[in-house]
């Protein structure tokens, strides 16, 4: 379970200033996958980064009673000059994996299916290959909550199916909080939804309601 209480966030700096998130109160129950939806700039990624502990709120608290993954996205997380294998090893080590390192690498390799590129520098990867590696890497760990920031957007059909299967498989033990503009995948993977609008968040028990509401508020259908 993840609890967010009275959370405020804004970005400081010469151009920042306005609140990105204002007075957010949310409770993410265990084993319920949630889709975050909203316009560009509504604060979806910011909220995900805050949940992932990558960033700190200006006010309020986030109470994480679960093992939460890092936000799986396209940017960051990998060093371009190092190979996929080296990056995987590094992330495994900072998560405390020692003895089972080889097993973990095999699992990542199996999921990512990027063949020989696994031993080539990440900077040579296409965005689809990066997201395969990122997703495979996070799924190799036993998190309670996986955070995905558009990581599925660039995947092909086979990869999306694979990601879906992987989550369906662990539907009883893990959940997903995802940011995506792909409504198909949101409906496939999430049960509940959170709509972000002008810094405020609204919880919907059904993802379909959230998407419908989003369509209504964003004007044209």
């Amino acid at each position: 379970m993840i609890e967010i209480r009275n959370l405020y966030k804004r970005y400081h700096g010469p151009f920042g200033g306005d609140w990105v998130l204002k007075d957010i109160n949310l409770t993410f129950p265990s084993n319920v996958s949630v889709g975050l939806i909203g316009r560009n700039g509504a604060g979806k990624s910011t909220l995900l980064r805050l949940i992932g502990g990558m960033d700190f709120p200006d006010r309020g608290v986030i109470n994480r009673q679960a093992r939460v993954s890092w936000p799986i996205g396209l940017a960051g997380g990998f060093k371009g000059s190092m190979t996929g294998r080296q990056n995987v090893k590094f992330v495994a080590r900072i998560h405390g994996v020692r003895r089972d390192l080889h097993k973990l690498i095999e699992r990542v390799q199996d999921f990512a299916e990027i063949g020989k590129s696994f031993d080539e520098p990440v900077s040579t990867y296409s965005s689809g290959m990066r997201s395969r590696l990122a997703f495979g890497l996070s799924l190799a760990f036993d998190f309670d909550v996986y955070l995905s920031d558009e990581a599925t957007a660039v995947g092909d059909r086979a990869f999306k199916q694979k990601a879906k299967d992987a989550f369906n498989e662990r539907v009883n033990s893990a959940s997903l909080i995802m940011v995506s503009h792909g409504e198909g995948i949101l409906k496939d993977l999430c049960q509940a939804g959170v709509l972000l609008e002008k810094g405020h968040a609204t919880w919907f028990d059904d993802i379909n309601d959230a998407i419908e509401h989003y369509h209504n508020t964003s004007g044209k259908k």
Partner: protein, 270 residues
């Protein structure tokens, strides 16, 4: 699926354990990055000080004429000073880029901005120590006598210079993280410091009044103390005091760590 046995440890790790895991992983990564960044990485690491020593020997032999240092051979004297200065400089300047270079890693909440900084100080220190040993070896092959008179003292002075560089490195990594212009200025200062620390020209050549002011520079204390331990009959100036150096090292380290704690969110976000 039956092979879903999870390799990740189930019970939460202690804070110390997380830090240890992060440091060991980052150390490996940093070593790989430093030594295999390009094909010539190793070559430059050794050639750069070698070239500097070559140029200095040339200058001192043909232009300034005299190579006389009271109580020490010129070449070993120069190698010791230059190596001591390099470990200081590497530990001071390399951490400044560490936060920027590892920005992508803050995706993982286990990693704090202080981690890449400390790891760089550590890795740089190891690499420079290795190069120093290599130079002693090379010099011996060329029949230059490089045996230390008081080896334990040299080692302690070496560690002190390492600590001084790391202390300032930790401090400047925050300063350069918050004010990028400061980083450039600090890097620019390293050449004047080379002269003011008596690396190339012996501090005894300077007029007495200048020496008094030069003693405010803690690097000078470290280098001269190391040379006095290295060469039995080496004559330095009055007032060399390692306690003074350690004041600098510990003060800057403490201040740097406090600033790291205070500014961690801002350093992560930049």
């Amino acid at each position: 699926m039956s092979d879903m046995t999870q390799p990740m440890p189930h019970e939460p790790r202690s804070a110390m354990r997380v830090t240890w895991d992060v440091w060991s992983a980052m150390t490996l990564r940093e070593f790989i990055a430093r030594t295999t960044a390009d094909r010539m990485a190793w070559f430059w690491m050794i050639f750069e000080p070698l070239a500097t020593i070559g140029i200095m020997i040339f200058l001192r032999t043909y232009i300034r004429g005299s190579r006389h240092i009271a109580g020490a051979e010129f070449i070993p004297w120069l190698i010791v000073g230059l190596m001591g200065f390099y470990i200081f400089k590497a530990c001071m300047t390399q951490p400044m880029g560490a936060i920027d270079a590892n920005k992508g890693l803050f995706t993982y909440r286990q990693i704090a901005p202080i981690d890449p900084v400390l790891v760089r100080c550590w890795v740089e220190g190891i690499l420079r120590s290795f190069i120093f040993l290599l130079f002693i070896l090379i010099a011996s092959l060329f029949k230059v006598d490089m045996t230390a008179y008081h080896a334990v003292g040299v080692l302690l002075d070496w560690l002190s210079l390492w600590a001084l560089g790391s202390g300032l490195g930790v401090l400047f990594s925050v300063v350069a993280g918050l004010v990028p212009e400061a980083g450039r200025i600090i890097k620019m200062l390293s050449f004047p410091l080379l002269i003011l620390s008596g690396v190339i020209f012996p501090v005894t050549y300077f007029p007495h009044q200048a020496q008094e002011y030069m003693l405010y520079n803690p690097i000078l204390h470290g280098l001269e103390s190391m040379r006095m331990n290295y060469f039995q009959y080496y004559q330095s100036i009055q007032g060399i005091d390692m306690t003074y150096l350690w004041y600098w090292a510990l003060t800057s380290m403490a201040l740097g760590l406090m600033m790291h704690i205070h500014f961690a969110p801002r350093l992560k976000m930049r």
